[in-house]
């Protein structure tokens, strides 16, 4: 851990006891960290032998890591179950998550900025309400929101907007998408700590309120935006609550997987595999393998997204305003 210090010249060599203690500590530390990392990656690694093994091999106690016969059968089966519109389903759910995240960032930043920097009467009340919304679980409001959307008032007409994506966009635009009050909170904390001089300088340069916000304050908020973007995309892509209840038939991979592989569907899935691939021996193990292949397909865009963006998260956490 502290090689640098030891290499400095003109230092008396450290006594053996200290060196020994240090190296033992760093070895233990290394083992601990490596163990933790392993725990987190293990579930992903473990997916592969199950998914890419032959369906007949599953349940064979001799096969743990390397399947005897490899096949992509469960993968294609999962693809057939989940991709109703081919690869477009995948693109659609990624696109949906991206679009909703952008809306959420934009709306939350606006509200967060206003309640953090502008001292209009009621700003604190709104902040308290944001916290309240964060604390109240959305499930408690499900019923009433659902009925509300079934009889949605739209310029004098009552229309049913359950099962249309517009419902989800409405929720996000008005600040009530997935975990959106948390995002408002993050932006509020961030803007609270930005220096006042920035706004004053912008004012002297002749910027109006909107201009100050859009071209000075918003670009400043990159750390907060990065954090919210990563979390927002992951949560929206992984959301099955809002999408599942308010637009159950839409192309959201999470919802599709959830309904296709719920335990009540097990027999149906097994029968489908039997007839599709002429495999009369398909059993519960096959169901699991196909389910996990589904999980793998589902995780691919997420993992790609995560590995591209994680350095934003890691580099920016200090300034992201999570800690106010």
């Amino acid at each position: 851990m502290s090689d640098k210090k030891n290499k400095k010249p003109n230092r008396p060599p450290k006594p053996f006891k200290v060196v020994a203690k240090k190296s033992i500590v760093s070895v233990l530390f290394g083992i601990m960290v490596a163990g933790m990392c392993f725990t987190m990656i293990y579930p992903i690694i473990k997916l592969f032998p199950n998914v890419f093994g032959e369906l007949t091999d599953l349940g064979n106690p001799d096969v743990i890591w390397i399947p005897v016969n490899r096949s992509a059968l469960s993968f294609t089966a999962a693809w057939r179950f989940t991709m109703k519109e081919g690869i477009m389903t995948l693109f659609k759910s990624v696109g949906y998550a991206g679009l909703i995240t952008v809306i959420q960032i934009f709306m939350s930043a606006m509200v967060g900025y206003a309640i953090a920097r502008v001292k209009f009467p009621g700003a604190n009340v709104i902040f308290m309400l944001v916290l309240l919304v964060f604390l109240v679980p959305p499930q408690a409001l499900l019923l009433s929101q659902y009925i509300h959307f079934q009889h949605f008032w739209f310029f004098g007409k009552e229309i049913n907007i359950i099962g249309r994506p517009i419902t989800l966009y409405l929720l996000a635009i008005f600040g009530f998408g997935v975990n959106q009050s948390l995002f408002v909170f993050v932006f509020r904390q961030f803007f609270k700590n930005t220096p006042k001089e920035l706004e004053e300088a912008a004012l002297i340069d002749g910027c109006g309120f909107n201009r100050t916000y859009l071209s000075v304050m918003l670009p400043c908020a990159k750390p907060a935006i990065a954090t919210v973007a990563v979390l927002g995309f992951v949560w929206n892509y992984g959301d099955t609550y809002y999408t599942g209840y308010f637009d159950p038939d839409g192309s959201y991979l999470g919802v599709i997987l959830n309904t296709a592989f719920q335990s009540a569907n097990e027999q149906f899935v097994i029968n489908a595999i039997k007839t599709w691939y002429k495999l009369p021996i398909a059993n519960a193990f096959a169901f699991d393998a196909v389910k996990q292949a589904g999980a793998l397909i589902y995780m691919v865009p997420l993992l790609i997204f995560y590995f591209i963006t994680q350095h934003w998260l890691v580099e920016n956490i200090e300034n992201a305003g999570i800690v106010g």
């Binding site: 659902y146 979390l231 209840y245 997987l257």
Partner: protein, 297 residues
């Protein structure tokens, strides 16, 4: 005069920025809450013109909550709630301590720090309910801990059971947690992130002072780190609880009561009780932790 004008204009603009949120608050939060509470005191039926007909039922809905079975299997409403609350009480402290531990590990400077951090935040992605649901095997034991009971049936646990006088209950509880470590890890992603941010906001000079005063790393953890991350701990605890309730199965029960059994009154009562439950837990936690931590958000 001009300055006053500017200030007023600024306030107005600021208020304008919050208008969408306020509309949302009224439409998607305030009205639904009041409606839910109102319905919970009525028995709701369908009237002839397709609308709703309400007849005052007092606490009738709440009473039938306790007497009828909820949707999933033969569990009663009380069982569901007790289960959720006990799980919450047991798991929250473990998740919080665990995420602090992970954050401390991720905060130490060493060569592979970047890689390790990347992996440590992986649970933010892998902890999604969809994924944890999908990767659990229903037949051959958990994928997460196949060779199930990797630890509890392992050598170390056996030795502990046989040759020490620690009660077997304690050992078995601990080992079962070790077995299900992924369950914990998958819930600790965001909390680790928050803690790491908190740890980095502590000025390094404080640790230097502690070192000069002769404190060991261990002592400076207790005397410097812990007191300074008190607020953050509170936030983490609240987040953990909120997140825990978000994953609750109660939505399924509400939905099936309302739309499969068309008992909107009872479903509303269930929602209300659930909400009160969550807020009560949070209130108690805040009350307790306020004694321990000086609070300022």
């Amino acid at each position: 005069m001009n300055k006053m004008k500017y200030k007023n204009k600024r306030k107005l603009c600021g208020f304008m920025y919050t208008i969408p949120w306020i509309i949302g608050f009224v439409l998607f939060f305030a009205v639904p809450i009041f409606k839910t509470i109102w319905w919970s005191f009525n028995s709701v039926g369908v009237s002839e013109n397709g609308g709703m007909s309400l007849t005052w039922a007092g606490f009738g809905n709440y009473v039938s909550l306790f007497t009828e079975q909820v949707a999933s299997g033969s569990r009663t409403f009380l069982q569901v709630f007790t289960n959720e609350n006990t799980n919450l009480l047991v798991n929250t402290p473990i998740i919080v301590i665990f995420s602090l531990f992970l954050a401390i590990l991720a905060n130490v400077k060493f060569k592979a720090q970047g890689v390790v951090r990347t992996v440590f935040f992986l649970p933010i992605v892998l902890g999604l309910k969809v994924i944890t649901d999908l990767i659990t095997i229903t037949t051959g034991g958990d994928l997460v801990s196949r060779g199930n009971g990797l630890f509890s049936q392992g050598f170390a646990a056996m030795m502990l059971l046989r040759y020490t006088s620690i009660s077997s209950d304690i050992i078995l509880t601990i080992t079962s947690y070790v077995d299900n470590i992924f369950q914990l890890v998958s819930r600790a992603g965001v909390q680790t992130l928050i803690y790491l941010a908190g740890l980095q906001s502590i000025s390094p000079s404080l640790y230097e002072v502690a070192k000069i005063e002769g404190a060991t790393t261990y002592e400076s953890f207790w005397k410097v780190t812990l007191p300074l991350i008190g607020n953050i701990t509170m936030f983490v605890v609240v987040y953990t609880i909120v997140d825990y309730f978000l994953g609750s199965s109660i939505a399924t029960e509400v939905y099936s009561f309302a739309f499969t059994k068309s008992r909107i009154g009872i479903a509303s009562a269930l929602s209300v009780v659930y909400m009160i439950n969550v807020l009560l837990v949070l209130f108690l936690v805040l009350l307790v932790s306020k004694k321990a931590v000086k609070k300022d958000v």
